[in-house]
């Protein structure tokens, strides 16, 4: 090529020019060239967020506690030989003395049984007033509370996402009508409506007892219905707002002009772009769902007995609060730990994935 730059034939240098003489420079060796190469890989948005999350000590504490609880509630029912509704018995006979035992205490019958050489698994948290092992009840209560919190948030997420994305994407009159409906539901006092629905719904719905819903019990099903009916509005508003701002971007216009369908644009372009907001608000939804569930169980509207939930355990423990305060302590600590670690995790996720929301 003619006009390629050749350092050996540099154009003549003007006397006062600032131009440097290329011949004064030394060529870089291969080793030196290698040093200039960028060694670190380019990071994705997700990886960058995870790195920031890992740096956040409080969030890591939350994750560790949550993992410990998850391992505990999956492993404990396999290790502890009692059932959550099983009334204790020794060698087939009902153990009437095993009422309200203190932690790690054995009843008289059990002591005799151990003296004879039998083995008995200790009652780690003692027993309750109906001679049931309290540890396993707390474990099952945690299972129920976590399940309710998790699935309720998923329901809220799905309904809110569908509604919000349709409303935000279509816009115009449809959006206006859909948002007026949201306004009205939003202005209903949610807790009162939840209480009202939880009073009424269980007597209205019935399922065959051996079906999936029948096993959950009408109270639990109505709890999910209540979440599905009332709590999605916040999520729908949030997602609609996100979509309204994302919709203005040029890549959406490009997709539209190449003939992509509305559904495809929502799925491929819009949802991934508001994913961080969705993740963060779902993570913060779980503890509030657990709060609501334990609140309802506490006033006697939650999960049906004998299935325990942390709220109903705390409520049951109020009866003997003078003499057996430990029965209140365990479920309470469990609720606080779960909610605290989920809150810490949610805050950490928000800081890591949503720089706009950072305070």
């Amino acid at each position: 090529m003619d006009n390629q730059y050749n350092p050996n034939e540099a154009p003549a240098k003007h006397m006062f020019s600032m131009q440097l003489d290329p011949q004064m420079f030394e060529k870089a060796t291969d080793e030196e060239k290698q040093q200039q190469e960028v060694m670190s890989e380019s990071t994705t948005f997700f990886r960058d967020g995870m790195r920031r999350l890992r740096k956040n000590k409080l969030s890591m504490f939350g994750i560790i506690v949550l993992f410990a609880i998850l391992i505990g509630i999956t492993a404990a029912p396999h290790i502890v030989p009692y059932g959550y509704e099983e009334i204790l018995s020794v060698e087939g006979r009902r153990d009437k003395g095993a009422k309200n035992l203190k932690p790690f205490e054995y009843s008289k019958m059990e002591q005799q049984y151990i003296a004879k050489g039998g083995e008995r698994f200790p009652h780690i948290f003692g027993t309750d007033e109906q001679c049931r092992d309290y540890f396993i009840r707390v474990i099952y209560g945690t299972r129920v509370s976590l399940t309710v919190g998790f699935f309720a948030s998923i329901i809220v997420l799905i309904i809110g996402m569908l509604y919000g994305s349709i409303s935000g994407y279509i816009g115009g009159r449809v959006d206006m009508i859909m948002m007026r409906i949201v306004d009205v539901i939003y202005s209903l006092p949610d807790m009162l409506m939840v209480i009202l629905l939880s009073v009424v719904l269980p007597s209205l719905i019935s399922f065959p007892p051996d079906s999936f819903f029948g096993k959950m019990g009408p109270n639990m099903v109505s709890l999910f219905i209540v979440f599905g009916l009332l709590y999605w509005v916040g999520m729908a508003r949030l997602i609609r707002g996100q979509i309204l701002s994302i919709k203005e971007n040029d890549y959406i216009l490009a997709a539209q002009s190449t003939g992509a369908s509305a559904g495809r644009i929502i799925r491929r372009h819009i949802i991934p772009n508001c994913l961080s907001v969705i993740i963060v608000s779902t993570a913060l939804q779980i503890p509030s769902a657990i709060f609501t569930e334990s609140y309802l169980s506490f006033i006697g509207l939650g999960v049906q007995a004998p299935m325990p939930s942390l709220g109903s355990l705390a409520n049951a423990a109020r009866g003997g609060i003078n003499t057996y305060p430990f029965k209140l302590v365990y479920p309470s600590i469990m609720i606080c730990l779960i909610v605290l670690s989920l809150n810490l995790l949610g805050d950490g996720l928000r800081d890591a994935f949503d720089p706009k929301l950072r305070r």
């Binding site: 306004d183 009205v184 202005s187 209903l188 006092p189 807790m191 009162l192 409506m193 209480i195 009202l196 629905l197 009073v199 009424v200 007597s203 209205l204 503890p287 709060f291 334990s294 609140y295 506490f298 006033i299 006697g300 509207l301 709220g311 705390a314 109020r318 609060i321 003078n322 305060p325 209140l328 309470s332 609720i335 606080c336 909610v339 605290l340 809150n343 810490l344 305070r359």
Partner: protein
């Protein structure tokens, strides 16, 4: 301004109507009438009772009658003890109201003070302690906090008398009720105070050499209060629902504990009346808060 208020009023009235409708029709969907007893009543008695309470009319007509009664302040009669519900309210509402107002006051004042301290001493020890404590407090459900306060101060230490007819000490219930909103207000006040401190007018005031306290109290604090006012509306809703369990735990005879025991007894007319009563209260509180918020801050446009 007037347009905004009218718009909000219409929405509020619509909300109350929808709540009344939902409550009424849900309660009527429940199987079993009010006169279902273990001992069956005779046909003639049931018919007489139905006529007496207007239960023989079509559902819509009954709803109309119910609404008419509500507008006249007539909430009907409790199914369990036959008392006028309005007289139950007259007796129990003042207690709840007093408790709730004290809790709101404590939460707002303490929350704002703590939040401002945290913002002014950012990343120092007091800030860390305040944020740590408020994070803990937001993770404790009110009913658990209430039960523990009762356990520790009434039963173990015996410092405070258990609530009864001649001993009504509001300290523990107010603490239990105010804890969560206080923690939330603290966080809110901190972030809005930080926001206000970073504004140009603060820098200008500082550059002029204005006294530090004048800057904090006159310029920063006043501007940082606006988000706190916005939060006060929903907070009242929280206080009302929170006070139900707290009254239940401390056995205070307020409207909340009446509601919880009505749920336990399935006293449908009382549940219905309390729901509507509390809902109207919440809607009104939110409405007033929103209007005050717009009045206080002239920067906000009306749409």
């Amino acid at each position: 301004m007037t347009r905004y208020i009218i718009k909000r009023l219409i929405l509020a009235i619509l909300t109350v109507f929808i709540i009344a409708a939902i409550t009424f029709f849900l309660m009527h969907a429940v199987p079993g009438g009010p006169f279902n007893r273990e001992k069956a009543l005779s046909e003639a008695t049931i018919q007489a009772l139905n006529e007496r309470y207007g239960l023989d009319k079509p559902l819509i007509a009954q709803f109309g009658l119910y609404l008419k009664g509500l507008l006249h302040g007539d909430f009907g009669v409790s199914l369990k003890n036959g008392r006028e519900i309005s007289s139950i309210f007259a007796e129990s509402f003042p207690i709840s109201c007093k408790l709730g107002l004290m809790a709101v006051g404590v939460a707002l004042v303490v929350g704002t003070v703590l939040g401002s301290i945290a913002a002014l001493m950012r990343n120092k020890m007091p800030d860390r302690i305040i944020i740590f404590v408020t994070t803990l407090l937001t993770s404790i459900p009110s009913f658990i906090l209430a039960t523990f306060l009762l356990l520790i101060f009434c039963i173990e230490l015996g410092w405070v008398q258990v609530w009864s007819a001649n001993s009504n000490n509001y300290i523990l219930p107010v603490c239990a009720l105010a804890a969560y909103p206080m923690a939330y207000t603290t966080r809110l006040a901190k972030s809005s105070m930080l926001d206000a401190l970073g504004q140009d007018y603060i820098r200008t005031a500082r550059a002029k050499g204005v006294n530090k306290f004048v800057i904090i109290f006159k310029h920063a604090l006043r501007n940082s209060l606006i988000p706190v006012i916005t939060y006060a509306g929903p907070q009242i809703a929280y206080i009302i629902t929170g006070s139900m369990v707290i009254e239940h735990v401390f056995t205070i005879g307020g409207i909340g504990s009446k509601f919880v025991s009505a749920i336990g007894n399935r006293d449908y007319t009382l549940i219905m009346a309390t729901t509507i009563f509390l809902a109207v209260l919440m809607v009104a509180a939110t409405l007033i808060c929103d209007i005050v918020y717009k009045l206080v801050d002239p920067r906000i446009k009306f749409d």
